[in-house]
């Protein structure tokens, strides 16, 4: 075993050594195209979704100032936070499931760090050229051309980063209004702050930190090995086929020279965004981006060798055994994931889209009316979580002869609105003594299954 993944040598001189830059080499191939497709899809979704209207408002809006979350036709309130937690749990278990099945697919194709780094690298390529040119440019003197290229790159990066910041804030505050404010240079202090903060984070993460984030900062990179087993899909170099490595003439027969298929061109090392050598075996720095696979395949094509010296495979397959896709770990993760997702949608479908809060009027405990009835006053809040307007009625139950009275018989509440009304609950004196529990129900007249009930305390003499 060689140890590039071992601890950094603890020599005092290396403590504050400057970081050496990684210049990943451009590759073209199946997996690179797949990643570009994923980048287009995911970033397209991110940048366009907040602009998409839905039923007269923004399709996805986590309206923090108003404390309401809109996701297409659904409206969530802080009380529905449980759903968000549930979604996070589903996301976590999906990650477990996908990791056990196919390794670090997330890292290579979907992680925001990867996706934005890919875009920033593309911009860098437009301005500074390929890997070889970039290295030369960085080493060369500060000529006019270098200054122009660097300035152009950073301008494009900063515009992209600020646009990302604006989009991010646009998920939390209405984006059309925000866009107009930006054009008028009249954004509020906190909007400006978050646009700049998120913009700066994008610029720094995708422009400078890049895959070093995966190596040093990502917890998933460290604990993903717990989800791996010998059947998990990994990217690996096939040493049985490649070794002994060595350069050779294109037409030479490697077997005659006593060589394997690896020509030791280091294309895989140069393509690696985290700067590792995949030929040293599976390392936690590997984000499974498959850039080395593409790089190696193109070399194999040129040499006239079969593709797949570096490939998606499993430890089992590398050792000449079959890979088992269905195995206990997959069944357990899969069943758990299925249950969580099914439960989520069932509970979402059964969700009553009306909320009810009751608060006792603090001015008087109770009031005795002429005719001997006892009255308690409550402040009632009706929350319409549906996307349509509804008419609601209130009712009280729980004591003999109980009556609930409000100024209007029906209460019209707009979609996503909160409506407050004072409710006077009256009970014949004979039934009211001390503190008793009553039930108050709100029900939509036009949709009787939209009903909820709350308990309240009724006070009497």
């Amino acid at each position: 075993m060689s140890g590039p993944a071992g601890p950094v040598a603890a020599e005092p001189t290396s403590l504050y050594a400057a970081q050496q830059k990684i210049y990943p080499r451009e590759v073209d191939g199946r997996f690179d195209r797949l990643r570009r497709l994923a980048v287009w899809l995911l970033l397209g979704l991110f940048y366009l979704l907040p602009w998409l209207p839905w039923a007269g408002r923004q399709s996805v809006l986590f309206d923090l100032p108003a404390r309401k979350f809109y996701v297409f036709g659904l409206v969530f309130w802080p009380q529905d936070f449980f759903y968000l937690t549930w979604l996070l749990v589903i996301a976590g278990v999906s990650l477990f499931f996908c990791t056990a099945l196919a390794g670090r697919l997330w890292c290579g194709y979907a992680c925001p760090q990867t996706v934005w780094t890919e875009v920033f690298l593309r911009v860098e390529y437009w301005f500074e050229g390929d890997r070889h040119r970039r290295i030369r440019l960085d080493r060369g003197p500060w000529t006019r051309g270098k200054i122009l290229r660097k300035a152009g790159k950073h301008t494009a990066w900063i515009v992209l980063a600020l646009w990302t910041g604006l989009t991010f804030v646009g998920f939390f505050t209405p984006i059309r209004q925000l866009g107009a404010e930006v054009l008028a240079l009249a954004t509020g202090p906190w909007e400006s702050f978050w646009i700049l903060f998120y913009g700066a984070a994008t610029w720094g993460n995708a422009g400078f930190l890049r895959e070093q984030v995966c190596v040093y900062m990502c917890p998933y990179a460290r604990f993903q090995s717990a989800m791996f087993d010998r059947d998990t899909l990994i990217i690996a170099y096939d040493p049985a086929r490649g070794e002994p490595r060595g350069s050779r003439a294109r037409r030479a027969d490697p077997r005659a020279a006593g060589l394997g298929d690896c020509i030791d061109c280091r294309a895989c090392v140069q393509a690696c965004p985290t700067g590792i050598d995949i030929r040293n075996g599976l390392q936690y720095e590997c984000i499974a981006c498959a850039a080395c696979v593409d790089a190696c395949d193109s070399v194999m094509d040129r040499m006239g060798y079969a593709r797949g010296l570096i490939r998606y495979t499993s430890q089992q397959a590398l050792e000449g055994r079959g890979t088992h896709v269905i195995r206990p770990r997959m069944l357990v993760y899969g069943a758990l994931l299925g249950l969580l997702i099914a439960g989520f949608f069932v509970s979402l479908a059964l969700r009553t889209p009306v909320g009810l809060d009751l608060m006792r009027d603090r001015n008087a405990l109770y009031r005795t009316l002429p005719g001997g009835r006892i009255e308690n006053v409550y402040l009632v809040r009706i929350v319409n979580k549906d996307t349509r307007r509804h008419r609601y009625v209130l009712q009280a139950a729980g004591l003999p002869g109980i009556v609930l009275d409000t100024d209007a018989r029906e209460h019209v509440v707009g979609p996503g609105d909160v409506y407050s009304v004072a409710a006077r609950v009256r009970v014949p004196a004979a039934a009211a003594h001390g503190s008793q529990l009553i039930r108050v129900q709100v029900r939509a007249v036009d949709e009787p299954r939209f009903a909820v009930e709350r308990e309240a305390r009724f006070l009497g003499p």
Partner: protein, 112 residues
């Protein structure tokens, strides 16, 4: 397993060998980043249950808290700074404990 000796470099590979972050950069990263993640989760949970415009010790929230956006931001940075403090202390304790456990080879030699 492949051989351990490093292969000769091809001619176009004139880039410096990539080495990682300095210890300082790593320390800063592992202090700030977990605290950031924890602060994001804490902010989400906290403000799901408490409306920032209803917080404050007195009957009326302090002036800077009257905009909800300000409340969220202050809350987030508060959680982040507490998390950073915790991360930094953990890092410090792990580091100093490690130094004590180092093999006493250097000490047994005694003063020069």
């Amino acid at each position: 397993m492949p051989p351990t000796e490093s292969p000769p470099r091809s001619a176009d590979d004139d880039a410096p060998a990539a080495v990682g972050w300095s210890q300082l950069a790593q320390d800063v990263a592992v202090t700030l980043w977990p605290a950031f993640l924890a602060a994001a989760v804490a902010t989400m949970f906290f403000f799901a249950f408490f409306d920032p415009s209803l917080l404050g010790a007195g009957a009326v929230p302090p002036r800077w808290l009257q905009s909800r956006m300000a409340g969220y931001a202050v809350g987030f940075f508060f959680f982040w700074s507490i998390g950073t403090l915790s991360s930094a202390l953990t890092l410090y304790l792990v580091r100093t404990a490690h130094q004590r456990q180092a093999p006493p080879a250097a000490r047994t030699r005694g003063p020069m």
